[in-house]
C-alpha cells in the first residue's frame, strides 16, 4: 500500500483480499492437528490448534511402563504435539502480514502482548516528548 497514491477502490480491494486470506488461513488453522510422540513412539498424542488434546494413542507395550513414566511420556508427547501445531500455524501465516503478531502464540493462549505493547507505547512516549 502506498498512501501517496491513495485510491479508495484499490484500498478496498486490498482489504477484501486481506480478509479473504485471513479467513482461508483461519479455516486452515481450524484443521491443524499437531502430533507428538514419546517413549520411542509408544506414546502418541494429537492436539488441536489451541493445544487442546484431541487424541492419545498408546502402543500395547506402553501399558507395561510404570505409571509415572507413562504419565511423563504423555506430557512429553503432548508438548511435542503443541510445538508441531504451533509450527503448522506459523507455516500457514508465513506469507501473510500479521502486523507482527505471533498467531500461533495467540491461538495457544501464550501470546504476551506486553512486550510488543510496551515497545509501541515507548515510541508514542518518545513522539510525545519530541512534540512537547
Amino acid at each position: 500500500m502506498n498512501p501517496d497514491s491513495y485510491d479508495a477502490r484499490r484500498l478496498l480491494d486490498q482489504l477484501e483480499t486481506q480478509i479473504a486470506r485471513a479467513q482461508e488461513n483461519a479455516t486452515a488453522v481450524a484443521a491443524v492437528a499437531g502430533w507428538g510422540e514419546a517413549a520411542n513412539g509408544q506414546v502418541k498424542v494429537c492436539v488441536g490448534p489451541s493445544g487442546v488434546l484431541k487424541k492419545v494413542e498408546l502402543d500395547p507395550r506402553a501399558m507395561r511402563m510404570a505409571s509415572e513414566d507413562l504419565a511423563a511420556s504423555i506430557v512429553e508427547a503432548a508438548r511435542g504435539a503443541e510445538r508441531a501445531a504451533a509450527a503448522s500455524i506459523r507455516e500457514i501465516y508465513s506469507s501473510t502480514d500479521t502486523g507482527g503478531i505471533d498467531v500461533a502464540a495467540v491461538a495457544q493462549g501464550e501470546y504476551d502482548p506486553s512486550a510488543d505493547i510496551e515497545q509501541r507505547l515507548a515510541k508514542a512516549r518518545e513522539a510525545l516528548r519530541q512534540a512537547g
Binding site: 498512501p3 501517496d4 479508495a8 484500498l11 509501541r120 512516549r125 513522539a127 512534540a131
Partner: protein, 342 residues
Amino acid sequence: MTVKGDPDGMIKVARRVLAEPYAYVERAESTMEGPCRLPALAFGVAPSIFLAGPYDDARDAVARATGAGADTLKSMASGFANVAVAMGGAEQANTLAPSRPPLPNTDIQSDGSDSASTEAALFGAEVFLMADWVATGGVLATCGILAPAALASVLAWALVEPDDASLSQAISAWMSAGRDLDSSSKYLELELGPLDDAWPSEDTSRQAFDRWKIPFDQDFEQLQGDPDKVAEALSGAVDKVHDVQTDFFFLAAGTLAAIIVLTALDAVPFVNIGAEATKEILGVTLSIETGSTVLVIAGICKDAFDALKGMVGTPGSFDMSKPGQQKIPDFKQLPPIQWTTA
C-alpha cells in the same frame, strides 16, 4: 540650489522607477495581503492554535514592509523629479504617477484544478497531505469497525485534516511574491543605469543619493529574502507532516493486518480466547499512537511557526550602523530624501 545635469534624463528615470520596479513590488504586496493568507485550519484543528497567530503576524509584517518598500520607490522617483527641478526642469514631483505596465501572470495556484496543480508542481508548491490523511483515516476506520477500542483513533485523526488547496496556494503565493520582488530589484538596477549620464557623480546631491542608496539596497535585499523564508517554513512543515503521516499509515496498516487476522481467528473453535483480548489491546494502543501522532504533527507546526515568530521578533529595531541586523527591513528608518539640500 542649482544642480548640474540633464533634467529630462532625470524625469525619464523617475518615470521608469514608477513602471516595472514599482509595479512588481505593489503586486508582491497585494499577493501577501491576498493569496498568502492561510486559513487557521490548514493543518487541521489540533495545530490551529499554533498556526493562527504567528503566521498572520509574519505575513502582516512582511506585507507591511513590502508596502513601505513600494512607498520608498515612489519617494525615490519624487526625489529624482525634485533634482530635475533643481537642474532647471519644469516637471514637478507631484505630476508623477505609477504607470502600471502589463506584467506577466503570476503562477499562484488558486484552486485544486489539474492545470493549477501542474503549475504548482512546477514550482515545487504542490501539497499532497490529503491523500495520506484519507488513506490513513480509512485504515483507522476499518480498525475501529473490527476492534471498537480503535475507534478513538478515528476521532483523533480527524483533528489533523489538512487543507491541500490552501497550503498549495499560500506556498506558491509566497514564491510568486519573492519572484516579483526579485524582478523589481532587477528592473530597478536597469532603470537607474541612465542616472550616471544625467546626474554627475561629483555633484553633492548625487553623492547624497549614493549614500542614501546603500541602506536602501540592504533593506531591499533583505525584503527579497523574506517571502522565501515564509515559503520555506510552510514547505518544511508540509514535508515533515507528510513523513509523519506516511510512517503512521504503515503502522496503522500493520495494526489493521493484525486485527483482521485475529478477527478471522475468532471464528475458529477453541482459538478465540486470546484473539478478542489481543484485538482490544491493539485497538487501545492504536488510539494512543494516533493521539501521539496528532501531537507530533501539532509540534511540527509549532516549530515551523515559532521560526516565523523569530522572524518578526524585532520589527522597527533597524540600526543604520548595523545594516542587516533586523529580521524584516523597516524602510521608514531610511534617511529622509532631501538630496538637493545636501
